[in-house]
Point group: C2
Chain length 116, copies 2
DNA sequence: TCATCAGTTGAACAACCGCTCAACTACGAA
DNA sequence: TTCGTAGTTGAGCGGTTGTTCAACTGATGA
């Protein structure tokens, strides 16, 4: 049993071994954390919650949330790169909407955590 | 329609007004973001995933994850304060486990997002 | 063609966050 | 009581992150 940085002995070796055998790739945990990190900012949550109800353009989102277009655009870029939102262009406007209903499910589960 | 910081005009006033009427308290979004933020770190996700399988003490977690007791303890404190994990003391050991299965549900939904 | 406006981008800054380190508490064994 | 070990804590650091600012692109309409 490897524990290079751990500054202590293993107490319950059987349990540690069992849990270790069910551990997933380190990459998987990083991906998972990266996903949840996107839900870990109030502005982004507000954007996602708004898009849950309606496709919206950057300008309207900025007005709705009371922040600059630039701030919204930066956040939308993060959300787009992680495929949580999709967008279509129509002339000068960029219309954003949720990529799939996974996003809605995750948000709802979060709301549930407080409202039950 | 208020849009103090927004550096643009509202384009679709009807949509903005409708979405605005369904907006929740700013506090709610902050709470939600704070919750998801806890899932937004690989070490914490690994801790939660381990605890999903077994109640564990700090020392074993540290050995399992290859980090110091201190690092684990700091993370467990955050998780404890937000009631995502609970713990019981038995002599020198502190045994941690998931507070309820909301945590498991959220994690599973995250895994689903990648493995489907 | 030129002005205007929606949206994007990158740099810079301040705030935040996770880890380390060292000191500490608390419990158990001798 | 004294020592050893599990666990906690606070300060400090280095890296990350969200916003602002200014400059830019690209489409529209005069």
């Amino acid at each position: 049993m490897e524990h290079p940085l751990c500054d202590c002995e293993i107490i319950h070796e059987d349990i540690v071994r069992e849990v270790q055998s069910r551990q997933l790739d380190r990459e998987t945990y990083i991906s998972l954390a990266t996903l949840f990190k996107l839900f870990g900012d109030a502005t982004r949550v507000r954007i996602l919650h708004a898009l849950e109800q309606h496709e919206m353009c950057v300008c309207d989102l900025a007005a709705l949330l009371g922040v600059t277009k630039s701030a919204v655009s930066h956040q939308l870029k993060s959300l787009r790169l992680s495929r949580l939102v999709k967008y279509r262009r129509d002339g000068q406007n960029a219309y954003y909407s949720l990529a799939d209903d996974h996003v809605k499910k995750i948000l709802d589960l979060g709301f549930e955590h407080f409202f039950e």
